[in-house]
Structures are given as structure tokens and as C-alpha cells.
């Protein structure tokens, strides 16, 4: 039986793991290679690496870090941050990434997802969406690490991206990010129900119950978290034991 995935996320800034609240107030959370090795050993199902300050100059450093992490882990490894071309992806795959995540560049260049899918297969292309619920109750897409608002609804963009060939959606709620008040169950459930591809829920994990809710109530295929794992508030083996007791299929 296909199991639900627990995915620790390394947000990387200047070579260090960092963690913010609502995409702001960023603080240091440790050495990315050490954390990656720990999570792999603890039974994480995948690892996501997002370079949150990706620029052309820093790309080389990032590729080296991707290589070091990939060498030390034996779980699938998704890399995102500043990816805007087929060449960017080819370099990352050559350095040990298994999948890549695109965000802003895919929104601005509507041909990018299709180009990447044609070159590497849809299964390699994860579309990351940062979304915020606004006063009108709708979820809107934000770009550039949450700094730029668009007038596009998250559901519309996700559907379009899947039509273009995105193989998976990584959905981060900016309202919930870093709050530890639980995942955004409404938009996760909406997207999971509307899309034919897997949805990874991200933002807001604080307790074991939050993971149960996002799988059982919102039907997420995977749950991604950062802070609760980095600061050892939740340990992956304990989380999986709990989910298993709650009749949620997980890899033991």
C-alpha cells in the first residue's frame, strides 16, 4: 500500500539551515548536512531543500551543498530555489537531486513546467506554491519567497500547472508557516480533491495531531515540516509510531 510521507524541509540561506515565522524573522537552525543525515537515519521519507536566497552568484555554492547532502542520504531528495531553466535542473540532477521544485520562475514563464516535464519527466517536477488567505477568504499565490502578491488564486494556478505537466504540488500556507497552529486544512483539502497529482502540505505543523489532521481531514499525500524537526520538538520515529496507531499508513 502506498504510504503517507513525512518530509523534513531544509530552508537554506548562505549555506545554513534557517527557519522563519510567516516567512519572516529568520533564525539559524543548524548545519544542513548534519540535519539531512539525521533525518535520513530517523526514517524521513524524503528530504526537501529550498535555497531561499538563490541568486546566480550563489548557485555554485548551493550545488556543492546539494552534492554533499545527496552523498550522505538514502532517501529521495528534492531541490528548489531559483530554478528557471532546463540547464539549472540538469546541473542539480547531476549533483544528486532526484526531483526539483519550481516556484516563481514557473509562474512568470508559463512554458517552463512543460519544458522541464518534457526533458526530465513530470515525476521530476514539483510545483511549489506559496499561498496566503486574504480578507475575502480566498487563497492567493505569492511569489519571490512570499514578497510579491499576485491576483491569482492558488487553485487556478495549481490546476494550470498540472495541465502543463507538474507532477506534484508543494503547497505552503504563509498564514500557517512557523505558527505551530496546524496545517491549512481547507486549501490543502481543496487542492487534494481537485488535482490528479499528489499534494504535499506545508506550513504550521506543531503537534502530532496536526499531522493526523492533514492526512485524515485534508487528504494530503505528504506533510512537510521544518522547525518542529530542526528544534527536536517532534521526532520522526515517534511521529510515525503515532500515525501508525491512528491507522494512517506510513513506512516503518
Amino acid at each position: 500500500m502506498l504510504t503517507k510521507r513525512i518530509i523534513p524541509c531544509l530552508d537554506i540561506k548562505d549555506g545554513r539551515t534557517v527557519k522563519g515565522i510567516n516567512f519572516e524573522n529568520i533564525r539559524d537552525a543548524g548545519d544542513p548536512v548534519e540535519l539531512a543525515m539525521l533525518y535520513s537515519l530517523q526514517g524521513a521519507d524524503e528530504l526537501v531543500f529550498l535555497d531561499i536566497t538563490a541568486t546566480v552568484e550563489k548557485r555554485k555554492t548551493m550545488v556543492e551543498l546539494v552534492k554533499r547532502i545527496a552523498f550522505h542520504i538514502n532517501i529521495p531528495f528534492t531541490v528548489g530555489g531559483g530554478i528557471s531553466s532546463v540547464d539549472d535542473v540538469a546541473v542539480l540532477l547531476q549533483h544528486g537531486a532526484d526531483k526539483i521544485a519550481v516556484n516563481t520562475a514557473a509562474f512568470k514563464d508559463r512554458a517552463l513546467i512543460r519544458e522541464l516535464g518534457n526533458a526530465f519527466g513530470s515525476q521530476c517536477v514539483v510545483l511549489a506554491i506559496d499561498t496566503k488567505k486574504e480578507a475575502d477568504g480566498e487563497w492567493y499565490v505569492y511569489l519571490n519567497g512570499g514578497r510579491t502578491r499576485t491576483g491569482t488564486k492558488a487553485t487556478d494556478w495549481a490546476k494550470q500547472a498540472v495541465d502543463e505537466g507538474a507532477g506534484e504540488i508543494l503547497l505552503t500556507s504563509m498564514n500557517n508557516d512557523g505558527t505551530k497552529n496546524g496545517f491549512a486544512l481547507d486549501i490543502t483539502a481543496t487542492l487534494s480533491g481537485a488535482l490528479p497529482v499528489p499534494v504535499i502540505a506545508s506550513g504550521g505543523a506543531g503537534t502530532l495531531l496536526h499531522f493526523k489532521e492533514v492526512f485524515q481531514t485534508a487528504n494530503a499525500d505528504a506533510a512537510l515540516a521544518a522547525g518542529v524537526f530542526h528544534f527536536m520538538e517532534i521526532e520522526i520515529p515517534r511521529l510515525k509510531q503515532y500515525l501508525s496507531q491512528q491507522k494512517i499508513p506510513v513506512r516503518s
Binding site: 500500500m1 552523498f71 529521495p76 497529482v197 499525500d221 505528504a222
Partner: protein
Amino acid sequence: MKIAVIKYNSGNVQSVKYALQRIGVTAEVTDDAATIQMSDKVIFPGVGHAGPAMSYLKEKGLDKIIVSLKQPVLGICLGMQLMCSHSAEGDTACLGIFDSEIKLFGSSAFKVPQVGWNNIYDYRSVLFDGLHEGDFVYTVNSYYAALSAYTVAKTDYIFPRSAIWLFWRTLQQLSIWSSILEEV
């Protein structure tokens, strides 16, 4: 022992190379026909799109080489799929080592691609020595290959009796390990 990992510019070859390094094996990632032919074992890795992958193999003349190899060859994911006769991904003619078609999962009730860890069971090969019935493997696939006489393990997705099969057999002295799936 010399191991060649076939380079076709779309596989996550580095991931395979690192896995080998962790168990103390050095492998060469190469698209050079002579190097591949002279290696003791060959790995044909995954991640990619069938169309561009086949074009690249043809451009390098590797389509002819791979089918003629006599040493053990391990096909992973797309590597395995390319060993079959045809893929629905880009309506691509493949290497034809196995008389099997690669099809797109068709289901409105299940997510496609299948992404995550799934069980494999019903082992019928020494390849699985040391594994337990029901152990987990990671799968990322939108396409599957038809069940065949070569299958040696299975897993379920979408249809209750569907199964992915891994297979290992000698075909023209070519040993191949692969994953394959079909509705039964």
C-alpha cells in the same frame, strides 16, 4: 569490478553513483560504448522522459550496444521501461528487449504519478535475498509496464489486483532487473 552507469543526460545518475559509493563500489557514469561494453556490470538508471532519453541513446549509438550486452544489466525505473518495446510517454519506440508495452496509469480516483514508499512482495529471485516480504521501495511513476513471464516481485497501486513486478531473468544471456506493473 568495473561498473558502468549509463549516462543519457536525464537520469538522476549521481544518486545511483552515491548509493554505490556508500557500499564501497566505484562506478563510472558514461555514454561511451566501449567503456560500457567492457564493464563487468551495467546500471541503466531512471528519471526522465522516454522520448528524449531514446533520442540520446540513438545519437550515441547506445541503442545497439545495450541490447547486445552479455553482462548483468540493472534497469531502474525509466531504464527498465526503455528496455521494453514501446512507451506511451511521447509515443516512443524503445529498445524492445522485452516484448512489453509501457502504459500511462489511468484512474480518476487515484493520484498519478504514484509518489512515495510502497511495499513489494512475492519475491521470486535471489536478488531479494536479505529483504523481507513487504519491504518498502520508493516509487515515482506515471507509467507502468505490463506483467510478464519475467516478473519476480510485485506491489499494488490503483486496482486491487494490480501489481508492479520486478524481474530478473536471462534473456540472450542478458540479466535484467526491473520494475513493472499491470492490472491483473
